[in-house]
Symmetry: C2
Subunit: 759 residues, 2 copies
């Protein structure tokens, strides 16, 4: 199989090269005859095309991508194309066909430039004229679900996708067309198309949102292709003089605009990106938005370098590439923050251009070459050539992901996401702003990965993207009723109500605050943050620590969630472990038939399967996942309630995954302290049937001290060692000296926290 694949691509490569060389003579002629033209100039430049042609056959990753693209497009040209009358939602025929068309046009345009074969230009031209013929006759798309319905697709978002790709195709075949042909296309198709998604849909175009980014970039790229500076201004600065309705929402429930908000492409760079390059919607949507951000920036830089777009906001677009890659696990899968589908990774097509553009326009970071090499594909343009040449020259270095804190908010002062990497663990701790309309109500939540496998999960979103069987591939109602709700996350729910009352209006006004992020000592890394608005009158302060104990192979995670309130409440802290329960060291009562846990705020989707009452000592839950043994050990107070829950209630269409959780519930208390440790301590082999270190290494965890000022936790291991972790709850200055006496022992230290062996 592998071998035959290899032979096939080698053959294709040989063919490609043959075609290229047979065209050499023609090239010289053509370049002379069109030397006054400025096309191509978006993702390919005239100089870039020249260099690509000169290097073909000697740049393996580029040659391979080219051969694969050629094969794909050739097949499609042979099969012929269709421009159907729009009708379907995503997953349906007309949707998928229009989507395929724009991708093909972009690829065929590029092939025309690189291979100088008119067949490709003709293919693009024919398709464009078919669109130009039909577009003026198409009404608004018949499917009604979107707040901004498109014409080709059910939403303007997809129409914008089409234009972003098609503008590149047009740029590539610009000189292939007569002036009259260009006039026809621009008049009948491109200008009305651009107007429709901008002037006629300002509720879509004039936003700060990934939708608008696509819209702005689409219009901007076509403006650059057509050489229309007025249209370019619309893309960069929005549609002026449009009435603004402050109450209008999109169909995800997000507000269209805030009063006084800036609009256009620059506004979309300004606001959602923090100075660290974190995109407030999270990596899943950044991955999606990064294509229009960067492809348009690239086009703008190539055609109008005077805009200095890559220097805008202190070079944030390039920083965002690094931030995005750092929000992926060891396998390249993106962490799940806000709405996000599991399995999305930096192997996604949009990340090819993200990495290549980041490399080409961002100072040739050799770490990016190693990612490009894993992707095994480059963009067929100037940026891709740069990457291919870099790899060929052996410049690549490993892209090393370390622990990193990425601030959120336009000015970097709206919380952050903290990623601690310690040996095989990756801990993703969220203390950000809300994340626009895709945000979840999950302040101070976390997820934990070991070697790229999720161990303590974030549920992700309630959606099966583009799987038509599941609600047309769109958001399912369970996304709102379950996935966004607080109880679906590893954080505190108070009184069975979601944070910020589960309301976007409220949540989007607030953010958590960083408190400590200290990762210099690989063996004791600390992230700590506070949330004071999720539940008015209640303060949450969570500290997560990875500790590498010299006696054990794997670090463990210490989790301290401190709650203080003005009044008595019920606090639920769920623990969404993945895997099969091996043992719980407390007696629980498994119900004969599961009961629905609650009525609203996500509780209606949880079954209670078993429950227990804590006796005040530590509890342990030991489970097996992917042939590894894990243990969760938690401090309890007498009469704390323990609930084994399972997702899946009130889920009439089996939309939810029926995974488990263990909820630790404290009732009728003002203040509460949840302290636990998560360990990965052993392995199992179903082949040798050997279980190694199947049990926890933790003997006991206890709270030595808990006051307004300090919290001190003692950890005793099975090797009879005792360690103490103390955090100062109100002063996080690095230089400050602290003194605390517990049980007649005086602890002194400098900075927000200390960790020591107890003598």
């Amino acid at each position: 199989m592998q071998v035959s694949k290899y032979i096939k691509s080698s053959l294709l490569l040989a063919l490609t090269i043959a075609v290229v060389f047979s065209c050499k003579e023609k090239e010289t002629k053509e370049i002379n005859s069109v030397s006054e033209s400025t096309h191509p100039s978006l993702i390919l430049t005239k100089q870039g095309v020249k260099e690509i042609r000169a290097n073909l056959g000697s740049i393996p990753i580029f040659d391979k991508t080219l051969a694969a693209t050629k094969k794909e497009v050739d097949t499609e040209i042979e099969n012929g194309f269709d421009v159907p009358v729009p009708k379907d939602y995503s997953g349906g025929y007309t949707h998928e066909t229009h989507k395929k068309n724009y991708v093909l046009m972009q690829k065929a345009g590029v092939l025309y430039q690189i291979l100088e074969d008119d067949t490709y230009a003709q293919f693009v031209k024919d398709m464009l004229f078919d669109y130009a013929r039909q577009y003026p006759t198409w009404p608004v798309h018949p499917k009604p679900r979107s707040y901004a319905r498109g014409k080709l697709f059910w939403q303007c978002l997809n129409d914008s996708n089409w234009l972003v790709y098609t503008s590149q195709a047009y740029d590539c075949i610009y000189d292939f067309l007569t002036e009259e042909e260009r006039n026809t296309l621009e008049t009948d198709l491109f200008r009305p198309f651009a107007d429709y998604i901008s002037k006629e849909n300002p509720q879509f175009f004039n936003r700060v949102h990934n939708h608008a980014t696509w819209g702005n970039s689409a219009v901007g790229m076509m403006a650059l292709a057509m050489g229309d500076d007025t249209l370019l201004d619309r893309a960069l600065n929005g549609v002026k003089d449009v009435n603004f309705n402050p109450d209008e929402k999109d169909n995800d429930g997000g507000y269209i605009r805030k009063d006084g908000q800036k609009i256009g492409f620059y506004a979309n760079v300004d606001e959602p990106f923090s100075p660290d390059g974190y995109f407030t919607e999270g990596p899943y949507y950044q991955r999606y938005a990064s294509y229009p951000f960067l492809i348009f920036a690239q086009a703008l830089q190539n055609k109008k370098p005077e805009h200095k777009v890559f220097e805008y906001k202190d070079g944030v677009l390039i920083k965002s590439v690094n931030a995005l890659l750092n929000l992926s696990d060891v396998d390249g899968d993106f962490f799940l923050l806000n709405d996000a589908q599991k399995g999305m990774s930096y192997f996604n097509a949009s990340l090819i251009s993200t990495v290549d553009i980041g490399y080409h326009f961002g100072g040739n970071d050799p770490g990016l070459l190693s990612i490009a090499k894993k992707q095994d594909e480059v963009t067929l343009d100037d940026a891709g050539l740069a990457v291919a040449l870099g790899i060929k020259a052996g410049k690549e270095k490993p892209f090393i992901k370390k622990s990193i804190e990425l601030s959120d908010g336009a000015n970097g002062d709206e919380g952050a996401v903290g990623v601690i990497r310690s040996y095989d663990w990756e801990l993703v701790f969220k203390y950000t702003a809300h994340g626009l309309s895709h945000g979840h109500f999950d302040k101070l939540s976390y997820a934990l990965f070991e070697n790229g496998n999720e161990v303590v999960q974030d549920y992700g979103m309630g959606r099966f993207v583009n799987i038509e069987q599941k609600g047309g591939g769109n958001y399912l109602k369970e996304n709102k009723t379950w996935a966004k709700q607080t109880i679906a996350h590893n954080t505190i729910t108070q009184n069975e109500k979601s944070q910020f009352k589960g309301k976007y209006d409220i949540g989007s006004k607030h953010h958590s605050n960083k408190y400590v992020f200290s990762v210099a000592d690989e063996n004791i890394q600390v992230a700590s943050a506070k949330e004071e608005n999720a539940y008015p009158g209640t303060k949450l302060h969570r500290t997560m620590v990875t500790i590498k104990d010299e006696d054990y192979n794997n670090p463990y995670v210490l989790d301290i969630m401190r709650v203080s309130s003005e009044k008595s409440n019920q606090y639920d802290l769920p623990f969404f472990f993945l895997g099969h329960i091996m043992q719980a060291d407390f007696e629980y009562n498994k119900l004969n038939e599961p009961e629905v846990l609650g009525k609203s705020d996500g509780y209606q989707h949880l079954y209670k399967e078993a429950s227990a009452s804590a006796n005040g000592s530590n509890i342990k839950l030991n489970w097996l996942l992917n042939n590894k043994f894990y243990t969760y050990s938690a401090v309890t107070s007498k009469n704390d309630e323990l609930i084994f829950g399972r997702i899946g209630a009130n889920d009439p269409d089996f939309n939810l995954r029926n995974e488990q959780t263990l909820i630790l519930r404290k009732k009728d208390v003002k203040d509460a302290l949840f302290v636990s440790i998560i360990e990965s301590h052993g392995t199992y082999s179903p082949v040798s049937e050997l279980a190694v270190n199947a049990y926890s290494n933790i003997k006991n965890i206890s709270v030595m001290h808990n006051s307004k000022e300090y919290t001190a936790i003692q950890i005793e291991t099975k090797k009879d060692k005792s360690k103490v972790f103390i955090i100062s709850n109100e002063n996080n200055d690095k230089g400050v000296e602290h003194k605390l006496t517990i049980n007649n022992i005086e602890y002194t230290w400098e900075g927000a926290y200390m960790f020591t062996e107890n003598k």
Copy 2:
């Protein structure tokens, strides 16, 4: 990592070779001085040792295994050993330590022979003397769970394991010991040990069961090592003159013996192996038993070739190697028949010797070399040397697994297991005998794998082997109450009662019967079988067909289950699909809270989550597993009941995996015909978010004809083609001509079935 591992093993190899060469001189001397000795002679022979030494350093797979073994044993010698007073169940310290000890002794013995370093002999000697000192003082093991308690371990089975390995170690260091030392060991340890597991535990030793096989081989190998022909006879032919209690059962519920049953090693070869080499307990237990079967056969062949053990029963021991390997999926994981833990594969240590012995004593099948190469390890003995030399000489060929039917029963007349391999599918259809005490009540059940991934599952066993947290690593009570029961399998349960009343006594008296197994045409492969004793008065006839349609990439599976009874019954046919439901095309009512489905026979472990009433047309269930789309399409009759069930009720310790099933229930009918098709038709990528061919290709399935004599099924595809499959229900002769007229169309064919396009 890989590199450093490589360097390490290279270093070790170099060291090993250095040691070997430095010993060359010594070797010559020693061989002369002990030339009259007959040791070693079990798994190593004097000639074999000579050849191994001569080839060391030039037989990579052997050298690598040797280096790894040396490293392991050296570390353990450095750490010292312990011979603790027996106390624990499996998973516990004393159990695991005694287990480690016998493995180490065997390895050290072999190292002594190959490397001629006295350190290894001394290590074995010291450990053996520690055992000899303590063994006479040990009472029966304190843990009471076994019907045959051991002394070192909780069951004689594990004591036998110990002796099988230790006999090899003793054989290796035999000449290193003085006669007096040998006398001490034999008198204080080996003879009483052999007597204990045989004469003192005839209920263990005098059986036909994998337990007895271990016992027989243990005693036999020690007899060979000591040169005791009387003891050897006991191993081969059992303990004579023991009172036989026909009612006695083991702790798995299996009968100890049947009246008049032969006993001893030969009986254990005679009875459980069919002439095809199928082991009646199934591959999971064959894997376990194959080590004692083959290691003892090897020793017997080496020491007493006059027994011609490998020719016994027409060479069945060698045939069994081939049968076992054919009962693994493309990844080498064994199919789940009867009690079996998922994930067991031919990478298990016992399969190393199975493959090597099979190669060395079975005519040097070059296909086995490719398996050995994947295992990347050989036994450090004559057989392993033969394999290493074969690989070195480049003799290996792929081990090609085709569709195969393996008969069950000592004479091959007690049903069979049929494995159909078609493109990426592997269908395992069970119509065997009961499978001794590890058998499940699941006649005519099946499991389906695609590319080595289970798609329609057999649950396997209710046990987490050697995971102490789960019932000491032993069988859980849910093994009996769930995993063995009929409703846990993809076959018919009548009136909510398991087949054979769920009684071993009854089930073990019967077997299903083969009807058709026809796989010559790769595109239409048929397995058909009948069961007439599971429910007295009811006959079951199932036909499973893989059909590769020219219009589609993947074959689909047609399943025809025909039930006819003397009286009205309820028939349940569950479908244990794995994955997430995407869509069901029938309206179902999801319960607010799951209800326990039934009271006994496994039903008490199923929750009813949703139900529907069929309207008489086809139903479809579409689901997603490992990013592939599958559909189950089934013919229904009006008012058939459909139940979505989930495993997990009455499971107080979360011992069960909470997977789903869809049960098709027909009530108050004498005869019933269940017809369905399983397809794998599409793929999903979470990276590109593209769903390809997400829907079934089957438009409709219908029953064209169903009589005592014939059943005809029509399959209409979405490409508007219509196919017909007809099976003759009462005559399976290949040469017979059939004629059947349906809707005025006459179908004529030869043989038990026909498949044709409907014009």
